[in-house]
């Protein structure tokens, strides 16, 4: 059953009838990144206007692989349940060379995580679920379709955007504007910013086909498959009997010719055999790795593909964009609420440039492995692939994309120095928090990450600690210990996962950021130490 695209009507805004208003945040682009930002801000009580020049969700599956960390973020935003239920869960990848399997990997080998390593789910479903969720905040999220950004005036304290609609133009003033408008960003164009990086010569043909088949829920990647003239191919299963097939094209291929269904069909038949199938969507993309030098330009901020673009193998585009929002939303909210100085925003740039560079490095290397440029590079690749059959080490050098893992913010300016008493065990400051199964104080099964996030929180182990005013505290007690009566929220580490993953002894505590990253940790926490780490994590001078 193919996806039915719903059309969202244009709703005439009051601005066209002369109303003047100023919004805290104007978001340009209602893809997964812009929608996630509007929802995250709404959860902080911050209002936004979200404009998009289209009137429906993504055409074509586009971003399909959503990583565990992204699902944890989407859980905080309230959409992960629907996504996991609808999506195809997978964690095993298989690599083939010619007609032989050379290597397989399991991305989530250990138990005790709420979310799977990856799900595959078409971008149109993700956008649909996010739009449904956004509609649950009618007072805070103003979603405007068929509304195109055409002009931008910047001031030190905000922007005025000129918007074009089917019923005329209007201006809207905002304290902040966030460009989530994709690789061909209008916001980036209006600011005249360079998008620096490299374009690879190779193109990939991507096709969604609908067919009944029994392929397992795994990622299959072929180097030099017998069915595709020695080039790379990728097969992914999606919901609704849709399969994604990516086929590498030679540098001299003409994309307009290659994308014609009569040319695509025989290639698909060579992979799937005699099964009947229907082509649902065809696209051709060029590999690119680029980013803006800075993601923050005064009161204009970039997130997702408008800020950085990677080649696709590794699932680092959509996931990277959602991780941008995870990092950005609480900072914008803290600044708008007066809890943090405007300088906090520069740390979005610092932290997400690191993430983007990591994604660009990994995807550029995978691209290079798929498309050797010199005779010696080809020889190295051929020998790695040939040795992979017998030499275990060579399998780990085969690169069909290093799949998205969360970026560590270790050593960056918001994080406190690690407490040497931990001797590096557990999660160093800057690490994304690891999930763990726990029991609530009534004995009900729950997950650690459902209880931290969205605000600064002290995770105390064993017993409550003294925390500065206004900071939430979550007490986790070891198995067999009861919750202290007056502690507030308390969880029981029944399986011992929290103690092990966080290297916690009784009396120790972590300071967790609203985006579920470790800001600081202490073997012997004091109110003063926590207050100082908290001030640092919000870019405040000491209180």
């Amino acid at each position: 059953m193919r996806y039915q695209h719903q059309r969202f009507p244009f709703v005439r805004p009051a601005e066209l009838d002369g109303r003047r208003c100023r919004v805290p945040v104007l978001i340009v682009g209602a893809g997964p990144v812009g929608l996630a930002l509007a929802i995250d801000l709404a959860l902080h009580g911050i209002a936004s206007v979200l404009v998009d020049d289209g009137d429906t969700v993504s055409v074509g599956s586009r971003a399909i692989c959503w990583s565990k960390r992204t699902l944890e973020i989407f859980d905080r935003l309230g959409v992960a349940g629907r996504m996991v239920e609808k999506g195809v869960t997978w964690k095993v990848g298989r690599l083939f060379h010619g007609d032989k399997e050379v290597y397989s990997f399991d991305l989530l080998p250990e138990p005790g995580h709420k979310h799977p390593a990856f799900i595959n789910l078409q971008q149109y479903y993700v956008e649909e679920y996010l739009i449904d969720r956004a509609r649950e905040f009618p007072d805070l999220i103003d979603l405007r379709f068929k509304t195109r950004l055409v002009g931008l005036e910047r001031r030190p304290d905000g922007v005025t955007a000129e918007l074009d609609t089917p019923e005329g133009r209007y201006a809207i003033a905002a304290d902040w504007l966030v460009g989530c408008d994709g690789v061909r960003s209008t916001v980036r164009g209006l600011l005249g910013l360079d998008f620096v990086g490299r374009t690879f010569e190779e193109r990939f043909l991507i096709t969604d086909i609908e067919m009944k088949a029994e392929f397992p829920s795994e990622r299959w990647f072929w180097f030099e498959p017998p069915f595709h003239d020695g080039r790379s191919a990728l097969l992914h299963k999606q919901p609704d009997d849709i399969y994604r097939i990516d086929l590498q094209l030679s540098p001299d291929a003409d994309p307009e010719v290659e994308r014609k269904p009569e040319n695509v069909k025989p290639r698909i038949e060579a992979i799937v055999g005699a099964r009947p199938f229907e082509i649902d969507w065809i696209s051709v993309y060029t590999f690119q790795c680029r980013r803006l030098e800075r993601f923050v330009h005064g009161r204009v901020i970039f997130a997702g593909d408008s800020a950085h673009i990677v080649s696709p193998f590794g699932a680092r585009g959509g996931n990277g964009g959602i991780q941008d929002i995870d990092n950005l939303a609480w900072k914008l909210a803290a600044i708008l609420e007066g809890d943090a100085p405007e300088a906090l925003i520069s740390t979005y740039d610092e932290e997400r440039v690191r993430g983007a560079d990591e994604n660009i490095l990994n995807s550029a290397r995978a691209t290079s492995f798929m498309t050797p440029k010199s005779r010696m590079e080809s020889i190295f690749r051929e020998e790695v692939l040939a040795m992979a059959e017998t030499e275990a080490f060579a399998r780990r050098l085969v690169n069909s994309g290093r799949l998205s893992l969360p970026c560590s913010l270790d050593g960056l300016s918001l994080q406190s120095d690690d407490d040497p008493a931990f001797a590096g065990a557990g999660l160093v400051p800057g690490s994304p928090c690891l999930d763990a199964p726990v029991l609530d104080s009534q004995g009900g099964e729950t997950w650690l990450l459902e209880h931290c996030g969205g605000r600064f929180c002290v995770l105390a182990f064993g017993s409550p600690v003294e925390v500065p005013g206004g900071v939430a505290q979550l007490v986790v007690v070891p198995a067999g210990c009861g919750c202290p009566t007056s502690a507030g929220p308390c969880l029981v580490d029944a399986g011992g996962y929290v103690g092990e993953r966080y290297a916690l002894d009784s009396g120790a505590a972590y300071l967790i950021r609203p985006d579920q990253h470790v800001a600081a940790r202490f073997r012997k926490p004091t109110r003063e130490k926590i207050a100082s780490a908290l001030a640092r994590a919000q870019r405040q001078e000491t209180r």
């Binding site: 290397r365 290079s368 010696m376 190295f380 030499e391 275990a392 690169n399």
Partner: protein, 76 residues
């Protein structure tokens, strides 16, 4: 088929892709002849660094076997 002394498990940890990228980069712009010479020098440097002739010989045998070349070839 594992020769004594050669560990074929992956030993480069998180740096495998860094090492591979550096190898490829080292050959950038070189002719085939120059690349072959670079590889020869690199092998000699690493053999000396290993410092254990038994391991180097086992490695040579293993590389030849992995290529499907007989272990001892003699010129007729």
């Amino acid at each position: 088929m594992s020769e004594p002394g050669i560990d074929t498990t992956f030993r480069l940890g998180a740096r495998g892709d860094d090492v591979y990228a550096a190898l490829i980069e080292a050959h950038r712009g070189l002719s085939d002849e120059a690349s072959a010479r670079l590889n020869a020098r690199l092998v000699l440097i690493l053999a000396n660094q290993i410092g254990d002739a038994g391991i180097v010989l086992a490695g040579i045998a293993r590389a030849r076997a992995a290529m499907g070349v007989a272990e001892h070839t003699e010129t007729a």
